[in-house]
Symmetry: C2
Subunit: 180 residues, 2 copies
């Protein structure tokens, strides 16, 4: 159900086509939820038949036509109700940790190199979150309630990526100290 609600949340600010959403799912809402374009198109049809979205066909020359979806009153209220229901924190599901856990099956060098790869990736992610956070300006106190909510959610990304970076450093140090 979460994808449906992530889409509704993404359409709160303004209307989008499926193609736009697929791209936005690499930024904004995409910082918290990921989906492929196939999933998004499937879900958009469902949400439209459920009456949570309305759809307008935009005919274009020199470009394929597109369907622009907007959230309806019913969609807003469904989203509000869902937000009000308690969620449980997602369990950790992380390939790398299984690999480290059973990491003695490969050489120390290769294991550490893999962790370093992740380190670099997390540094890139962190920069993206930080750039997004900075776009809200210096004076957080002045933000509207809507903006404060968005900002608070974004901060989670900064926290997460930072903790990952620290863990990578820790793990590398720990494994390097081994004689084997």
């Amino acid at each position: 159900m979460s994808l449906a609600h992530a889409i509704l949340a993404a359409l709160l600010e303004c209307s989008h086509s499926g193609y736009d959403l697929a791209k936005r799912f690499n930024g904004s809402v995409g910082f918290f939820w990921h989906a492929s374009h196939q999933q998004i198109y499937r879900e958009l049809s469902r949400l439209e038949s459920a009456g949570h979205l309305s759809c307008e066909l935009i005919e274009q020359d020199s470009r394929p036509n597109k369907k622009v979806y907007s959230i309806t009153a019913s969609g807003r209220s469904a989203l509000g109700q869902w937000i009000g229901r308690p969620a449980s924190p997602p369990p950790i599901k992380d390939e790398l940790l299984i690999k480290v856990f059973a990491g003695h099956l490969i050489s120390k060098t290769r294991l550490i190199e893999e962790i370093r790869r992740h380190y670099r990736q997390h540094r890139v992610n962190l920069e993206a979150y930080q750039a997004a956070v900075l776009s809200y300006g210096d004076d957080i106190g002045q933000l509207s309630r809507i903006q404060k909510c968005e900002y608070a959610a974004l901060r989670a990304g900064v926290h997460y990526e930072t903790s990952r970076l620290h863990w990578c450093e820790d793990a590398i140090q720990l494994l390097l100290a081994d004689s084997g």
Copy 2:
């Protein structure tokens, strides 16, 4: 594919039944990967037909019989190869963050109460990770390579839960400061 490898990793130390594994997926490997018993039974059959596991039927009085699975040489080598292949960090997928992102649709009080609920949950999780970490003793330098790998993986849980707790505090403060 990850579930299969998580199971293989869990069976490295010693053999288990499906029932045992389902429970262990709440501890040890379960700190990094989650699966229901239905998934586990399905995957165990597959791994056995692939030759990565062998199975022994243990007949019991006063208890249902059980099937105890052990990793085979082929299973070990498949696991080793998988560990050697690069993985990409999992994208964040977190209901709570969507809810906070669109949190202006419900009252400030309710949103903050929900974040507090998560705070309490993460504190419980953190204690579990810390207890597991402590079981490795004080002198980390003395651990075997196998233990160091397990320990390093566990530390990720401590990092993660701690960063979550900090974020919850941040987010609550930020939202409380709002007049709305």
